[in-house]
């Protein structure tokens, strides 16, 4: 592949160019209820070319090798058009020029597991919820995405890295009368097929939660103190804080940029947040980003003080801050953008029971149902929760969405638990989908959040 890519790059007339070719192999097995609705294994591929010329940076994505010349003309024209209009020419932070080939270390390579076995495994898991009265349907799927990435730039970098992602997911739906309840489950990760085996207990657990929800009460909309479980702590860290640490999201907002100054204090002493794509075995693992920069652990918050930021080569130069290796594309259809890898709150000292005791009266909320941010404000859903009275878990509640302000919520994180769980499936949609977006944390105690209820 590299010789062909080199010949494309050799035709560019630019200050810097890079080209990425990707072959994406995708296996999908889907059950809707008891019926198998999809089973397929396919490959797709394409090129993304980026050109930096006279301070203008532009990109083009194309499918066919024969379109390379036209793509090249387009992207050079676009780069010049940008160059004529911008005030500050784009510069790239200097990075080590790497020639590397990386194959992931896998506990059981899914490519060596037969389709029949994957199908029967998925069918078996799917039959667990469907075997319970009250469960009306499921969507259960196995998917495997293998990205074979080739990266070349005019500085001499030449990197081949493969990313193998397995995912076992289920959406379980229960119903009584006209009331319908739904929970989700996601397993798998970056480490191979072994991690989707022997997961029957997880399916059993989520099935019984889904059935219990039919008897739960809708939460009352109000302002309340909560304990969030690691899944929700992770979503908060990702949605509310993490996106703010992505340099490309704040660079053109003068108010946000002024607010997110390194050294500024936001949270209490016990709050440490890190993004580390190199954490072995986690969903968000990679060694080199899609600009050929080595990923490195990046401390974002230390003792409540803003300590670092996630960067691309362009933003690292523009901010005058160190490279972090966080510029990642969904696939061959996109130029890379700044993404989180494995982001989490570092564990503190409190046991779960300590946290409930400190909470006193409030809510214990569990498991993410999706979230979104809009600058300093965020919203996310919880799959289920419990009323807490006098530090003791009470009745189950449903229909939970919470909303808050990032800065206030960081201040309102009153205690951090001593456990740590990171997510096994991801799906951050910042223009592009990142299925390896990983987040997590310990249990945390947060004061004063708005719960929407119904």
């Amino acid at each position: 592949m590299f010789p062909l890519m080199r010949s494309i790059l050799s035709k560019t007339d630019s200050d810097y160019s890079d080209v990425r070719y990707e072959m994406k192999r995708e296996t999908v097995i889907t059950f809707n209820g008891k019926e198998l609705t999809q089973i397929s294994s396919n490959s797709t591929d394409g090129y993304v070319l980026r050109v930096l010329k006279r301070g203008g940076l532009s990109s083009v994505a194309f499918t066919r090798e024969t379109d390379a010349d036209r793509a090249l003309r387009t992207v050079e024209e676009n780069a010049l058009l940008i160059a004529r209009h911008i005030r500050e020419p784009v510069r790239f932070a200097k990075t080590e020029i790497l020639r590397k080939t990386v194959q992931p270390s896998l506990e059981e390579d899914p490519r060596r597991v037969s389709m029949d076995e994957k199908l029967e495994l998925t069918r078996g898991y799917n039959s667990i919820p469907l075997g319970h009265e009250g469960i009306v349907t499921t969507i259960t799927g196995y998917s495997e995405v293998i990205r074979e990435k080739y990266f070349l730039n005019t500085e001499g970098a030449e990197i081949r890295e493969d990313l193998v992602t397995t995912r076992l997911s289920s959406s379980i739906t229960s119903k009584v009368g006209t009331l319908i309840q739904n929970v989700r489950l996601g397993l798998g990760g970056s480490q191979g097929f072994r991690h989707v085996r022997n997961q029957e207990a997880e399916f059993e657990k989520k099935t019984s939660i889904c059935l219990d929800l039919l008897k739960a009460e809708p939460v009352q909309g109000r302002r309340v103190n909560v304990v969030l479980n690691p899944s929700l702590a992770g979503v908060f860290t990702h949605e509310a804080f993490g996106h703010f640490s992505e340099a490309d999201l704040i660079e053109d907002s003068p108010t946000l940029r002024a607010r997110m100054k390194i050294g500024e204090k936001f949270g209490n002493e016990g709050l440490n947040i890190i993004d580390d794509p190199t954490l072995p075995g986690q969903l968000g693992f990679y060694q080199y980003d899609d600009e050929g920069v080595a990923a490195r652990p990046t401390r974002l918050m230390e003792k409540g003080v803003l300590a670092g930021r996630l960067h691309s080569r362009r933003t690292a130069a523009a901010f005058g801050e160190p490279l972090s290796g966080h510029c990642i594309a969904e696939d061959y259809r996109y130029a890379p953008i700044i993404r989180m890898g494995n982001i989490f709150i570092e564990p503190g000292s409190h046991t779960f029971n300590d946290l409930l005791g400190k909470l006193g009266d409030g809510l214990y909320l569990l498991d993410s149902m999706g979230g979104e941010t809009s600058g300093e404000n965020f919203t996310f859903g919880a799959q289920y929760g419990y009323e807490v009275e006098g530090g003791r878990l009470g009745k189950m509640i449903r229909d939970i969405n919470i909303s808050g302000n990032l800065f206030q919520t960081l201040e309102n994180i009153r205690a951090v638990g001593n456990d740590l769980v990171l997510s096994k499936v991801g799906g951050c949609g910042k223009g592009q989908l990142n299925i390896r977006s990983c987040n997590g944390g310990p249990h945390i105690l947060v004061h004063d959040v708005v719960v929407g209820g119904r």
Binding site: S40, N42, S43, V60, G221, G381, R454
Partner: protein
Amino acid sequence: MERLMEMAKKVTDGAEIYALDETGDGVGFENGRLKEIESKSQSGVSLRIIKNGNLGFAYTKNLINPEEFLQNALDSLKGKVEAPFEFPFTRPVTPLNTFDPSVERLSNGTLVEECQRICDYLASKTEGQVNVSAGRGTGRIRILNSRGTGVSTTSSVYGLHTSLLFPNSYASIHRPWVHKGFERAPDPYLRFILETYTQSLKEVQMRGGRMKVLFLPETLYALLWRIQSVTNGKNVYQKVSPAAGRLNEKVFDEKLTLYDDPLNDQVPGAREFDDEGVPSRYFPVIDKGVLTQFYYDLYYAGKMGVSATGHGYKSAMWGGEAISFKPSPSLEHLSMKAGGKSFEELLRLMDRGVLIAGVMGAHSGNILNGDFSIGLSPGLYVENGEVLGHIKDAMVAGNIFDTMNHIIELENTFHPASGGMFPAILFDGVSVATKG
């Protein structure tokens, strides 16, 4: 492709080829400055086959080796996915007017100029942060099947999106402008954004409770998503729609008439047929509050023993590669009957309430049940018909079977919005939770 079809016909009971070619350019301005230009040119093919009652599926970006491609689809038959349908025979019809050639002549230079013009105009009137993006796209879809169907359609779209952002936030007053061909954004479009922003710039506190809530067209998708879910033939088949069994019942306020209108080629993306080659038609979903019909693709129509309604689309919630998706039931061309009041008149009907100008987390919560619980990004506080400012950390929540029964009135004008062309809608008695 014809060769692939001939090969497939010999070894299967039915075959369908879907081919997609797309090009596009996008220009983005942030804080009044040109930030990026991206171009793309993508193509791909997917193949579905039916053999012995089972369905096979394969897709590729480059159809280089038809033998291998067909074999991949044949291999997928082993999983025994049931095919409860046959591919349809569809005659080519008089094409809709879906392609405006001006989009092909549109240069990125012109897109940059148009965005710059809007940034300059807004910057001369407000100190707020201005983000503008513009793009153009063309597409061609061809569908062949073994019953002799051979149809194709081309499309063009020009889109512009203007946002005026509140400080410390991505929350904004924003509105899209979408056409088949290039048309400069007119003054009333820009004035609406500017005036709404100026009125709401101040941050205000308000107490929550049940009150009047006005959804702007660009935020209605949060509610329509739930209606699309409960009327989806797939959810009816799976017995998870609370609307199942309620056909011909009045389920919503009689002011609501909601329909799918794929043949309306005044707007971009009109279609003579869906992604399975089934002919499109005008399709009422809710008629004066009465639930009239559910929508189906070939698969779920087959499962339910009804006719496909022309709603099989290769789309997914989070974008992605169309060729890699199997069709599923989808309302891609929703619209609704407009009401009798101007936007200003609707505002004047609000003694105290919230105008929803942006939403967050519409994908979260119990959608199947029709529940919504969404963050406002932003919500604007209205008293006696006047916007007093914007509120933070607020949510609205409810269930469509309740909320859609409390429509006060719809706006008399359509605006392009996420998912179709819609008017603003004023509801009564919606629960608003706030920090205040």
